[in-house]
Symmetry: C2
């Protein structure tokens, strides 16, 4: 078990080792460790190797000139100069919050960035300011529009964080597809099939094969098929793609660069890098903050007291599982799988550092 503070210190050091400033390295490390703490290890330390190799391949600029290229009282466009996504992400979300403080709401579109970890991290930055935080990003294409076999969309997550008064905040942070790609990989390794409604084969037929993506198959949008509303899932994922790319001039849909070095960057890209979109809304731009937050307490209590289905024990509020994971992992420490530990040891050795083994 690793103490999260040790992982934070190690990871900050590692990214300083590749040339990042202390502040930039800390931004990357903070978001990765937040993912571990919140139980999303798919976006945690396992990504260090991917990011490291993306840097080695020359696709990440560790001394970026991240700058605001356009702005109005409530909006801005940020160019990340090919930075690690967290560097542009934290800067952009801070700017959203600053603008919201002045004009009520702030909206920042970001281009020329890379994979930025969990979207929820940025949305949650708004909470301590009594603001609602919103964050979306596009991602490399694996997902098919309804009635298509073309992988033109990413798993495009959406995060919304809403503060409450005495209750913990509402934090929705979800890929707009039925499941994460990582879960397909786990099922494949175990030799298991997956339920129908998650993936299709290269011709667009239903499939239960978790390895089908490597044979021309695609992930389905939320809903699965047309009669279960996949066209609504397609709308959602498409809206996230448009917000993430077109406001700033980042790449859209099939042109979004992959977050791993072993996949090539698509040719003839119409935009710059990966794109994100951030929003902050000051609660008291609408209503006294304590009044809103007391209403949010009532919302949360109402939904928490919903009657569970037969065989279930409780109804969750978005953010409950992640908060409970964080309470546990902060106290008990974080477990890393052996393959990740080996990767971290190897990278540390390359950089003249060492990674403690437990």
């Amino acid at each position: 078990m690793y103490d999260h503070k040790y992982l934070l210190e190690f990871t900050t050091g590692l990214f300083m080792g590749v040339g990042c400033s202390r502040a930039d390295a800390a931004a990357v490390a903070n978001v990765l460790i937040a993912a571990e703490l919140r139980g999303h290890s798919s976006h945690g330390m396992i990504r260090v190797k991917e990011y490291y190799e993306l840097w080695k391949s020359g696709r990440v600029n560790v001394t970026p000139d991240v700058k605001v290229v356009h702005e109005t009282p409530s909006t801005a466009v940020v160019d990340g100069d090919s930075c690690f996504g967290m560097v542009a992400g934290v800067r952009s979300m801070r700017l959203s919050i600053e603008k919201a403080a002045v004009t009520g709401t702030g909206w920042v579109a970001t281009r020329n960035s890379n994979h930025f970890g969990i979207a929820g991290y940025y949305a949650m930055m708004a909470l301590e300011h009594d603001m609602i935080g919103i964050c979306v990003t596009n991602a490399n294409p694996l997902v098919v529009p309804t009635w298509s076999v073309s992988r033109y969309l990413g798993t495009n997550p959406l995060a919304v964080a809403v503060p409450a008064l005495n209750e913990p905040p509402f934090v929705a942070d979800f890929a707009t597809t039925p499941i994460a790609r990582g879960k397909l990989a786990v099922a494949e390794k175990k030799g298991e099939s997956v339920p129908l409604g998650l993936v299709q084969d290269a011709e667009g037929n239903p499939s239960d094969d978790p390895g089908i993506l490597r044979r021309g198959g695609g992930m389905l949008t939320l809903g699965g098929d047309r009669e279960h509303g996949s066209h609504k899932g397609y709308c959602m994922t498409a809206v996230v793609d448009i917000f993430s790319s077109l406001f700033s001039g980042a790449n859209f849909g099939p042109f979004v660069p992959p977050s791993v070095a072993y996949l090539p960057v698509p040719e003839n890209q119409p935009g710059k890098g990966t794109g994100h979109f951030f929003g902050a809304m000051r609660i008291d731009a609408f209503r006294p903050a304590d009044e809103f937050k007391a209403s949010m307490d009532a919302w949360i209590k109402t939904f928490r007291s919903a009657k569970p289905s037969q065989g279930e024990t409780r109804v969750l509020i978005p953010g409950d599982p992640e908060r409970e994971a964080e309470e546990r992992y902060r106290k008990e420490g974080i477990t890393l799988v052996p393959a990740v530990i080996e990767d971290l040891k190897a990278i540390a050795a390359e950089l003249g550092m060492s990674f403690r083994e437990y």
Copy 2:
């Protein structure tokens, strides 16, 4: 077949007949006829009787004092004074657009309103101003959170309209549930079952019975069940509910008043009426409008040229079916089912008007 102009004139007259000003009656009629033209007859003339009876039951104020009760440069709260939803809806969306013109974006939360028709109508108001339009509303509760049997959420639609240059606009306008309630009613009338994954019974078991809502069952969120991502659908529908209610102090979740007079208003309501939320974002607050719109053309062309699945002929862009319906119905006229024609004749007679029969 009815010419849409005749329906517009008749419906405006009808709502003037119950006491609305000409402008307010025209707002109601415009949105209802837009729904018919766009192929969403479930939100069209069939609602006239519902609205009329809601007014007769005293739940709608036809001489409302719709007013802004709070504002900042980019936000406002509107109180609809129990008006027909379209009256508050059009006023609120206009205000969003005005604020966006000044500060880049405008966001308006509306309370004390009623059913407002298709969300897409309001989102599309932004298009001619070179703005992106956003609109959500909550609705009376029929939908269960994941793992629950409590009907605590509405079908809560989300609409996003994005202008393009030479291509028609992207218009996503969808209930955040797998299907509309109206489709359950149609299946029930035909004596058909529905696919699993749309509704559940009173204990939370899967059901294919389209009449199950009248026996304590509930509609499922997008995704259907947990392993197909229903918790993400729950997040979406919950976010729409929170935005629609808590910014303005309207009712949330289980307390949203029904849009029909034969269902009672829930007791102990924490808020005022039904709530909506509107947003307008000026494109050139981020990027020159023509540059953005040319990129949107590229987005649309790319997705339109996606390869169809085996047996399918084309991949749709959100808004395609509605635009094609509108082109046809504007030219050919609108067909109303006999029951709706009878209802309209009866209401017209009560108001000393007449409804033409074809």
